[in-house]
Amino acid sequence: MKINFRLLLPAAAVFLADCTSTKTATTTASATTATAATAGGTATDALDDYDAVQVSDPLEPLNRATFTLNHGIYNALFRPIAKGYTTVTPKPFRQGVDNAFENAKFPVRFVNSSLQGKFDRAGKEVQKFGVNTFAGFGGLIKQSDRISSLADVPSEDSGQTLATWGIGHGPFLVLPVFGPSSAREAVGLAGDYALNPVNWLFKLRGGAEKTEWIPSAANTVRSLPDQLEKYDSSRANSVDPYVSVRSVFYQNRKAATAQ
């Protein structure tokens, strides 16, 4: 897992150089902008309801190469692991494990809600964490879903915080192994990694020789089936898988930030 940060370094460098300048250049096809245009009465062409898409992707050739490489890695390595995991464990078990890991990620959501000034949401995260940890056997059961005020708290992450602070995406990046990202979101990813207690043991104690790596690795394995499903669905029935995955990424992040 040490490699994580090494991978992110070049991204951070590009990010510093680019984040201020590309903000205006980055636009994505989005239903929201289209609606805004229509509502404001500025749309002149009914066929251009979804505006043409200009994303900042200066590294497209490299990104496409990494995209192909990742596809190979997912199929050769991740898919068998995910398949093995879903074969040997029953669905309720996996649901419990997912719930527990998501519950443990509480600091990511709490810190980022606070950094964005969404204190009401930060408070709800504390309640959620309390309810799930104490009434849900350490987070295995997501009891908070039964409480209507806590069922739909949008989860905040570091990328969204940077966006809220007015920092643009910067160039689109396909990270090795991690997949679609942007300069900003790559930095966000590093932030989330650092804030996730699952990785703390490993970081504080260093070294992969003992058992410190287990929580991080378990977290990766348990999240694989879901990640792969999302990846597959953003590729499925596409005309150009790369462009489709990129578009899904930008739209997804935009919606998450707007919440």
Partner: protein, 194 residues
């Protein structure tokens, strides 16, 4: 993002949702009927591909595939001959139905709750819904338009618009080779095994 820049938009939404509440209710009723009919059918399907075939006639009644295809191509649509438009619509229909039906496992019924509909413009209604499916929660917005009757013209899942996604991909194809390039790229996607 910038909250202040969203303010006029929000005002616009809330204002229009008051003045257009009658069509909003109508559109919502239409959507509910469509969803119930699809779910009743998908419950009885044996597998995903059988499901796609079974829901096809139902979706064709409730979704305007022609509008979807037109919007996905954008202004370039005018340069399509009527034959090319028909062909593109037909291919696009297959892709959309496939995308839609691949999201369901037969026998697993999602629990849907409808949120307050908004009216972004006259003759248009967005119906946001919350979906609980196989233990996960999703936000899905259906966009409807009045074309004689109400029709579904876009589905936005977790902020990702189906049409905006295709628009991005087809734009590049159209720019590189016009209508024939768009049609052949759609053909390739249809013939590609899933």
């Amino acid at each position: 993002m910038n909250r202040r820049s969203l303010l006029p938009l929000v005002c616009c939404f809330s204002f229009s949702s008051i003045s257009w509440s009658a069509p909003a209710t109508e559109a919502e009723q239409f959507l509910k009927k469509a969803v119930d009919e699809v779910l009743a059918t998908s419950d009885r399907a044996a597998n995903s591909s059988a499901l796609a075939e079974k829901v096809r006639p139902i979706l064709q009644r409730y979704i305007s595939f022609e509008t979807m295809a037109r919007r996905a191509v954008g202004p370039g649509w005018r340069q399509f001959t009527p034959d090319q438009q028909r062909k593109a619509t037909q291919l696009f229909t297959t892709l959309v139905i496939r995308t839609y039906s691949s999201k369901f496992t037969p026998g697993e019924r999602p629990v849907m709750s409808y949120l307050a509909a908004v009216t972004p413009a006259a003759g248009r209604v967005d119906v946001p819904t919350k979906l609980v499916y196989q233990g996960s929660r999703y936000s899905v917005t259906y966009r409807l338009e009045q074309e004689g009757s109400w029709k579904i013209t876009d589905v936005v899942i977790e902020g990702v618009s189906l049409i905006a996604n295709y628009r991005t991909q087809l734009d590049a194809k159209f720019k590189s080779g016009g209508a024939p390039a768009v049609i052949s790229s759609l053909e390739q996607s249809v013939s590609r095994p899933k």
